[in-house]
């Protein structure tokens, strides 16, 4: 568990941030220049905050009042930088072993062969970094940080320098990391697709301040945070699991606390956890059970609240077996249906997007 509470003057603005990062992936999300990299550098010990405290697993890394400032080499944190930063004079193998060799055998928490196998870099071991592709360099950089057996893995937009196809090549490895090696990850990003795919916890940052923090689903479902998350549309992010596949019709049935949803066939095996995104605009409402409609995903819901927004739209918060879904309808439709909190209704889901489909608990060694 990483606890950070720091304040520092950074050029034109004041960084003032408090955050916790426990197990799983914690994404630090915000626009460029919001202080994300500075914050992560302070955690790594590469940059010194003016005041505050940084603690990991009861070990104090920095405490301005007590005059503690542990140098980066003693912090035991893995850092994957924006650029791969591989040592050009060393082979891939020596790069990977650079941090590994500094850790005593008793303290090694990861296995060299397992990391090499998971990242698919065994055929590169004897090459020099100069001859590798961007995606390969990124994977080696991730492996090198991981092999230092860190208490936490800091990743500063490790995919930012890659094009979209290279990104697709590396992203699944990052997704696998936290699960397979049980190392918490603090992931800095300004790309929402990466956050949706990876993050268990989301921390929103803007102008050096923490705007919001909490479970990814919860934060992304909050309408008031839309300007910060960059998600123009209000929506819902739900956790679900694969129930079964219907290959004949090319669909996958997903179950969540509020019932079952059908989506286009996905690759994840039954039982796998998936993350769904439902835009509020794609949720229509009916006061009676609709019959003879083309929409397959119809859920019985209870209306929690009705809020009129400025542009003649009404945002309705729905409870569906404990899960919260948002619907956006026109003020005209609302005046016709007369929806009030506490009413039972039916939500018609026109589109359901699987945002995190292939993050699954695979048995080790199998891909």
């Amino acid at each position: 568990m990483l606890t950070v509470c720091v304040r520092s003057r950074l050029g034109s603005f004041q960084l003032d941030a408090t955050l916790n990062a426990g197990s799983g992936v914690t994404a630090l999300f915000g626009p460029s220049g919001s202080g994300k990299t500075s914050l992560i550098n302070m955690v790594a010990g590469l940059c010194r905050p003016d005041e505050g405290r940084i603690v990991i697993d009861d070990r104090v890394l920095f405490d301005a009042k007590a005059g503690i400032d542990v140098p980066p080499e003693q912090r035991r944190l893995g850092y994957v930088f924006q650029e791969p930063r591989l040592f050009p004079h060393l082979s891939v193998r020596s790069n990977l072993k650079f941090g590994w060799n500094r850790v005593s055998v008793a303290e090694r928490t990861v296995d060299f062969a397992a990391v090499v196998e998971m990242l698919g870099i065994d055929h590169l071991l004897d090459r020099r970094p100069a001859g590798l592709s961007g995606g390969e360099k990124s994977r080696v950089a991730i492996g090198r940080a991981l092999l230092a057996s860190p208490r936490i893995l800091l990743m500063d937009e490790p995919l930012a320098s890659l094009d979209s196809s290279r990104k697709a090549e590396v992203l699944p490895f990052v997704a696998d990391l936290a699960k397979r090696f049980a190392i918490p990850i603090l992931y800095v990003s300004h790309a929402m697709d990466e956050v949706l795919r990876l993050a268990d916890t989301l921390v929103l940052m803007a102008e050096g301040q923490i705007a919001a923090a909490g479970p990814t689903e919860e934060i992304l479902s909050r309408g008031d945070l839309c300007p910060l998350t960059g998600h123009g549309e209000v929506g819902t992010v739900l956790s679900a699991s694969v129930d079964h596949h219907d290959d004949e019709n090319g669909v996958t049935a997903l179950s969540f606390s509020g019932g079952t949803l059908l989506v286009g066939r996905i690759d994840s095996p039954p039982g796998a956890a998936v993350r769904l995104r439902i835009h509020a605009r794609d949720v229509a409402l009916a006061t009676e059970p609709p019959r003879q409609v083309s929409i397959r995903n119809i859920l019985a819901v209870r209306i929690v609240s009705v809020t009129t927004t400025l542009d003649r739209q009404v945002e309705i918060k729905l409870d569906c077996g404990g899960a919260v879904i948002r619907s956006q309808i026109t003020a005209l439709a609302q005046s016709h249906l007369r929806l009030t909190p506490g009413m039972q209704a039916f939500a018609l889901l026109e589109a359901v997007t699987v945002a995190r489909g292939d993050i699954v608990d695979r048995p080790a060694g199998h891909r």
Binding site: P72, R85, H89
Partner: protein
Amino acid sequence: MLTLTPLEIEALRLSLLVSCCAVVGSLPLGIVCAWILARLDFPGKGLFDGIIHLPLVLPPVVVGYFLLVVLGRRGVIGSLLLHWFDFSLAFTWKGAAIASAVIAFPLMVRPVRLSLEGVDPGLEQAARTLGCGPLRTFLTVTLPLIAPGLLTGLILGFARSLSEFGATITFVSNIPGETRTLPIALYSLTQVPGGDEAALRLCLISVALAFAALLAVDILARRIQARMKA
């Protein structure tokens, strides 16, 4: 023709000894100065830079005279060395090595400084986060990365030491077998009648030595380049 006379062997041996000691001995200080110039910013840095480069622009005789005044038997530091340790640099090959080192120093520092400025500090940060302290980071990451600059510095310094004349003859004079290096031996031969043929032979030896040094650098530099790319 191809066998060297004892006088030539003596001069060659002295030249190599003096030059090797000069560059190897001053290399650590050269790296430190290059690092200070490349990485630190402090008031008076311009002055520091100027002092290091001074031997490059001063007449070597001035440097030799300065060394004589400071390190000579009656010099400010030289007299103390003589008094405390019964040790003197004046009129010895060690003094010649000091003179060569001072003259060659700016030529050695410059390429090291340039290659240090070319090292991505991000790589050093990466090494720190991977568990290396500052010194270890310097030895395992920075030093190998500036190897080409170090090599260039060493060779430039070595070449300048081989050709050192003015400061050496001023500081440690012209003593056969002790301070009479190749250029000084050559100069001595031109001062006596009938020394032309012997002078020419020394000339050719100097040329061969310079060529061998350049060739060695080229081969080493290619090896370093190839290692980074493979």
